[in-house]
Every structure is written in C-alpha cells, then in structure tokens.
Amino acid sequence: MSEWGPFLLRRLGRLIIVCFVLVTLVFVTVRLVPGDPERNSIGGFDGTEQQKEEALARARSDLHLDRALPIQYLETLRSAVTFDFGTSFQTQQPVTTVVGERIGSTLRLALAGTLVIVVVALPLGMVVGALTNGKRRGLDVGFSGVSGFFGSVPPYVMGVILVYLFAYTFDWFPRTPEGGWTDEILPALAVGLGPALLLARVIRVETLNVLGQDYMRTARSKWLSSPRVYLRDVLPNVVAPAITIGGVMFSALIGGAVVVESIFNRNGLGRSLIQAIQLGDYPLVQAIALILGLTVVVVNTLVDIALAAVDPRSMVRS
C-alpha cells in the first residue's frame, strides 16, 4: 500500500504549517492589545509595590518584551515547542502548572462528548435510515424535524436546559461538580447531543445512499442476516462521511466546552481562558489558546488519517 507514504507526508506538512500559523496568530494577538502588555498582564494583581515590580519584571521577561520583535517571535516559538510559557499573573504560578491542573477536565469533557456523539449518532442514523428506506414517510419528516430542531440548539443553551430539567426539576444530577464520573454526564450531553443529532441526519442520508448502491444488491444475493449486512457492508461505507464530519464536530466540541465549563462550574481550560482574557493574563491566554488550537488541528489530522484507514480511496483524492 504505497499510497500511505506520500499521504502521511502531506498531512504532516500541513500540520506543521498550521501550527506555525497558530503560534503566529496568538503571538500577534497578544501584542496587538493596546497598552503595555506587561502592565495589562498584571492589571488585577494585588500586592505590595515591590511585588508588583517583581511581577512586572517577570512579565516582561516571560513575554520577552525587552528584546526586539523578531527575537520575541522566535522565543515564543521556542517556548511553544518546549512548553515553557512563563508565569500566570493571576496566581503567580508557572503557566504550565495552571494548565496542567485544568487540562484534565477539558479533556474528559471532550472525550465524553465524543462518546455521546458516536454512541447516539451512528445507531440512530442507521436505524432511521433503514426504516425510512422508501417507506414510513411520517418517520422521515418527524426525524428531520426533531433532529433539525434540537441539533441547532447550541451547547450552552442545551446545558442550561439540561440543568433546569435534570438538576433542578428532577434532581438527578448535581448542579456543581462533586467529584466522580456522574459530573461528566450532563456536560457531555450538553456538548454532544446537538452535534450527535446533526451527525445522525448525515448518517441517515448516507445510509440511504449506501442502501441504494449496487453492492448492496450483491450483499442481498448472498442471503446474509440483516445485522451482519448492516455491520459489515453498510457501516464501513457510512463511517467514512461520518468521520469527515467528525473532525468538524470535534472543533465544535472544544468550542462548546469553553462555554459549557462556565455553566457547570468546571475547572477547565475553557473557563480559565475566558477568565484570563478578562483579567489580561496574557501568558496564560497565549498558552491556552495555543494548546486548544493545537488540539483541534492535531485531531483533524488524526481524523484525516482515520478516514484514510477506513476508505483508502480518500488518500488519493486529496
């Protein structure tokens, strides 16, 4: 399978370029803020005059503000690669520590959300597709309507409504994090249900598409059991478009997580990013923006690779 080599090379190349662009973007953004970055950075800092001076000096050196601009850029690149982001101004702790504390929560949310999406969308889409193949027009319309409606509900609204329904009205789930895996359920649903329904729509259309193909007639001619046919003949062909959308879904998940963390009072990167921006803690902003951005880009690349593994034809197409 000689197509893998050039393909992987191309993807890797694209990944590196995008990372570059990302670092540059973050770099430019932080420096475009009006006023002195280091002064802005310690805006909310409370302490003695001397502590302030120390903090200012640290800020200046962390953001490499005492050097020429090109050197600053190179230094930013270097710190991105070595994961040395300096000191956060709110807490006066190294940024890496702060990030380390919070990345777990965000990762858990993203993974749980992905799980919700896959577990809900694939079976739902395929089943509805199989059921509405040429018949049951009512189900067709009903599904379109419901999935279209709930799929458009943004994660934070979904989160608010879920909290209202389940944490308040039914009191099944805690309102604030209590520690333990039950905390993950409502946020995961908030972030994942909408995209899951949208993906289910796509999967349904693809299932119908696949069912109309000639190779399904061949499968029928072999008189295999329905579950087997759906699992081995339909699913692989449906998964490919699903993975394509999956990449987009993941970046939506990350975006959704940012807001949902605030609703559920989770101590994650998203909420920290918002706070950091509001308080002007630029080293932290730089670090979190980079990490989240990199995660999205890396996941997209992995999705491309997964897509190639499932449908080898896509390697040649791109």
Partner: protein, 324 residues
C-alpha cells in the same frame, strides 16, 4: 426424473400501480434442470434481466412479481416468507451481476466479501474462508491470489473484478449460478476466459447456469438451451446446437442474422432489426414483434401466438421460419 433446480411458472413482473402500471415481464415460464446451462437472450428492454432477478428474488424496490409456481431445489419460494429464504437460497444460488465496478463493496477487501457466503452458510472460520477464497481466485485465473485476496476492489482491474465476482459466486459452489451479462463490460480476450470459467464450473461441480445476454453468439457457444425473449415474453425455446439452423421465430432469425461476420465483405452494411421494442405500459394486440417483422400478416397483428412444439424446442410464432 430429478427435481429441477429452478422452476418458474407464469411469471409477471410489473412496476407502478393503476394507470401507470407497466408489466415488463409477462407469462414467462422456465425450468432449469441440474447441470444445464440455459441462455436467455434478447435486446435491452426484453425483460431478460428482470426475469433472472425475479428468479433470484433480487428485484429492485418498486418491482412486483407474481408467479403460479416458484420453486428452488424443490422448496416452494412463493409460499415462503423473505426471512425463510435465506437457508434455502444462501450458498445454493449465486448471482454474478453486470457491472463489476459497482457490484463490489468498496470498503471491504475482496477476500472478506468473498468469505461471507461460506462463513455464514457453511460455518467456515475466517482463515478457512480466506483459503477457499484464494483457491477460487486462482481458479478464475487471477494472478497472485494470496496477495489479491486482501486487496480492495478499486485495486483490481475491470476484468479481474468480474472474475472475482464469479469467484465469489463459486465459493460454495452453488446449485445454480445466474450470470447477468457477465462479460458485457469486458474486452474480448477476458470474455473468453470468463466463459471458460463458467463452463468449467458447470462441468466440474454440476452447477446449473442461467446466462443472460444480448450477445447471441456468446450464448450459442456455451449454453445447452436457449430462451429468446422479446418485449417481456419468451418467444422461442431452442436447443443451443439447433440455434443457428433450426430456430424458428422470426425474431430469433433476425437476431442471428444481425451478428456481424468476420468473413463478410467490409463494405457490406451491418444488418439491423428496424424499429424498436414496444412500450411496456401499452398492451398491444397480437404478436409484439409484428411491427418489426418482415413476415407479419394481419393475423399476427390481432392475435397473440401461443407456443407450438417444434422439432428443436417450442416457438410462439404464426410463421415460423424454415431451416437455415
């Protein structure tokens, strides 16, 4: 007398309902004995493919079939529910479709697709199925079968794909193989190979074959018995070795006559059959071939001919042709 492998009486296949209903196959009856190779020949729209698909229970969505009798290896298919047909047909009836490019699942390896039938209907393990698949691929003369078995359809050439499809049909081997235009999409040299494989299958395993094609020359080479279809009906049934000389229906003769001969002078125009097949939504009176027939009379145009026994088979024509 042994049981026929397949028996179909008075088959009708129609699409649509009410005013828009079109019967594309009417009054077709056939009986396939074990070990026979039966060819069904006709132009596009004659209903030959639908007949074969109906026999295999593979009609497309929207098509409806009725038949007085429909059995496979003695089992009554007409009386059985869809779910009951799996054990009857699975592994015993194989189909090779016309377009090998779209008939293979692009997301699965060829070997995996081939293995389905023996794994489900004969309980073979994955490894055993793979071995069987390699063996069949070798039989259809696919080179390097051990490598090919793990490749994807898009890595095969057109001819190889069709041979793989036939190999897939051979897996069990079946009692009946229905091949719908198996060589139409292939070039002539590969055609010969593919037909050789089908013939070998028939010889070695006693597999009966229904071979559907518009190519009467091809059918004449391989089949033992030929059914000629026109406008949804069988118009003639004749033994293959009598086809050229003692076929009787005017349409059959016209078909044979239209086959280009390599030894004919090059400036001689190709023989065609003028006109076109009738619209399936209309039910004309009389013989459906009459509008295009050189020997048609007013009787032909008003009364539909019934089957009459001839020395080579049977024919539905008021003016059967003489020996050629």
């Amino acid at each position: 007398m042994t049981e026929p492998v397949l028996e179909l009486s008075n088959l009708e296949v129609s699409f649509g309902r009410g005013l828009r209903a079109a019967s594309v196959v009417r009054g077709v009856s056939l009986r396939i004995e074990p070990g026979e190779i039966v060819g069904i020949v006709g132009e596009s729209g004659s209903g030959k493919t639908l007949t074969a698909m109906a026999a295999a229970d593979l009609l497309p969505v929207g098509a409806e079939m009725t038949a007085d009798r429909w059995t496979f290896e003695g089992h009554d298919l007409a009386a059985s529910a869809r779910s009951e047909r799996g054990p009857i047909l699975g592994g015993r009836l194989a189909v090779v479709f016309q377009d090998p490019m779209s008939s293979l699942n692009p997301a699965r390896t060829v070997g995996a697709q081939m293995g389905d039938v023996v794994r489900v209907h004969h309980g073979q393990s994955k490894r055993a199925a793979r071995t069987t698949a390699i063996d069949r691929l070798r039989q259809v003369r696919v080179t390097a079968p051990e490598r090919r078995v793990d490749e994807y359809p898009h890595e095969f050439s057109g001819g190889m794909r069709q041979r793989a499809m036939i190999a897939m049909g051979l897996m069990t081997p079946p009692a009946l193989l229905i091949a719908d235009e198996p060589t139409t999409a292939l070039d002539v040299t590969v055609q010969a190979d593919v037909m050789a494989v089908i013939a070998e299958l028939n010889r070695e395993h006693g597999t009966a074959v229904i071979l559907v094609s518009h190519n009467i020359a091809l059918i004449a080479e391989v089949a033992t018995r030929v059914l000629v279809m026109y406008a949804g009906r069988i118009v003639e049934e004749v033994a293959a070795d009598s086809l050229a000389t003692r076929s009787r229906h005017q349409y059959t003769r016209a078909l044979i006559g239209s086959v280009p001969r390599l030894d004919a002078p090059r400036d001689q125009p190709l023989v065609t059959i003028g006109g076109a097949p009738p619209d399936p939504t209309t039910r004309a009176e009389g013989c459906s071939f009459a509008p295009r027939c050189a020997a048609a009379t007013s009787e032909c145009r008003s009364v539909r001919p019934e089957f009459v026994e001839s020395d080579a088979g049977r024919v539905a024509c008021f003016h059967p042709a003489a020996d050629a």
